[in-house]
């Protein structure tokens, strides 16, 4: 019990990242939930330590909100078939993601499809 508590505490402090292999803990994301956001790519940040899809999503009230969708490091995206220009500004995409626990407009990407629902890149 004590050992488990120590492990949990360390993981919570981000010294260990139990599921994500990112440079930070993935505790910020609610992996029990999935959301699918449809929107327009504003920028595809092909950057270390994480790539981000900046996408503008129009809500039911007509208000535009920019979401930050986190991905892994570019080398891993590359290994899974992604390229720096896989997503181009202005294109419409659907992103399935685990949302931020905070409720802020962001999440970690599960997969991405184009406007017609066709897979973009791969996740393998």
């Amino acid at each position: 019990m004590k050992k488990f508590a120590i492990v949990a505490a360390v993981a919570g402090f981000g010294l260990l990242a139990p599921v994500s292999q990112a440079h930070h803990s993935n505790a910020m994301f609610d992996t029990s939930r999935e959301v699918t956001m449809r929107g327009m790519v504003r920028e595809f940040q092909w950057t270390n330590p994480h790539a981000y899809i900046q996408m503008v999503v129009t809500g039911a009230d007509g208000r535009e909100v920019e979401w930050s969708m986190e991905m892994g490091a570019p080398m891993y995206l590359y290994a899974r078939g992604w390229r720096p220009r896989t997503l181009r500004p202005g294109s419409i995409i659907n992103v399935r993601a685990h949302p931020l626990r905070s409720g802020e407009p962001g999440g970690v990407v599960v997969d991405v499809t184009d406007a017609d629902g066709k897979a973009i890149g791969t996740n393998q």
């Binding site: 599921v19 910020m28 920019e66 490091a73 080398m75 791969t122």
Partner: protein, 265 residues
């Protein structure tokens, strides 16, 4: 005062200018080269094989669902979570934890780059082994027989100073003069600058295996032993160096979060 002491030592002949090792005869070097192990490929920590585009490692997710915490032994085990910290070490660990939330970083540093979310490559030559990752982080391990620089030459850096030797097909590396790793990366252990790191790396079938021993009386009550293993993952065809220039880690008071858009509109 310090310069006066150095000048006095120089006059006494105790300071020798740094000199390059004598280059090897070309023919002899070719023969030595032919006998060396060859570890081609892009190596990733064993439990991070198949990492998804979201940065999740399937093996870790599966282990989590099983409630199996044994994967910690390999996955980022170099962070020292299993080490026996002394009083000073525990205090340093507590300090690192207390300040880790939302903290940004510039890279992994040593030792974490050997255990991190980036493939590494090994370039093996008779006199030097270079280990590098896709974050532009590089280690130079001199295998030309030179000794570790003198204590007077203490020059702590993020990646330390390494000398190595081959024991059969095992590369034995001693690394010293590493700045406190947690000063560079919040997920790294707070070893002192006097810590000594020994690595024993060898190929076992298709796995590359490394036994690690960290000796640091200033922070550890006993040497820390752990093992890391690597496999070749699919999809990598070249090593691309990319700056660590977009760390958007932030903290919302309860959890880490993604910093608001960092680019100019």
């Amino acid at each position: 005062m310090r310069w006066a002491a150095i000048a006095a030592l120089a006059l006494a002949g105790t300071i020798a200018p740094a000199s390059a090792q004598e280059p090897m005869d070309q023919t002899a070097r070719t023969q030595v080269f032919a006998e060396l192990p060859y570890w081609p490929g892009y190596w990733v920590s064993e439990y991070t094989i198949g990492t998804t585009i979201g940065g999740a490692a399937p093996a870790l997710a599966e282990a989590r669902e099983r409630g199996d915490t044994s994967f910690f032994r390999n996955f980022m085990s170099l962070n020292g979570g299993g080490a026996s910290w002394n009083e000073e070490g525990r205090a340093r660990m507590a300090e690192v934890r207390a300040t880790a939330q939302g903290r940004k970083a510039d890279g992994w540093g040593f030792p974490m780059m050997m255990n991190a979310a980036t493939p590494i490559v090994f370039a093996i030559t008779p006199e030097l082994v270079i280990i590098t990752n896709s974050y532009g982080e590089t280690r130079h391990i001199y295998t030309d027989g030179r000794p570790m620089p003198d204590e007077l030459d203490m020059w702590p850096t993020v990646y330390g100073t390494s000398v190595g030797r081959w024991e059969g097909d095992t590369l034995v590396i001693e690394t010293r003069m590493v700045t406190t790793p947690s000063d560079f990366f919040h997920g790294a252990p707070p070893y002192s600058e006097d810590a000594v790191y020994e690595e024993r790396l060898r190929l076992e079938g298709d796995r590359l295996v490394g036994d690690y021993t960290v000796t640091d009386p200033a922070r550890l009550s006993e040497p820390f032993h752990t093992q890391v293993s690597w496999l070749r993952d699919e999809g990598f065809d070249r090593m691309i160096q990319i700056d660590w220039d977009n760390d958007r880690t932030s903290f919302d008071g309860e959890f880490n979060t993604i910093e608001a858009l960092a680019v100019e509109d």
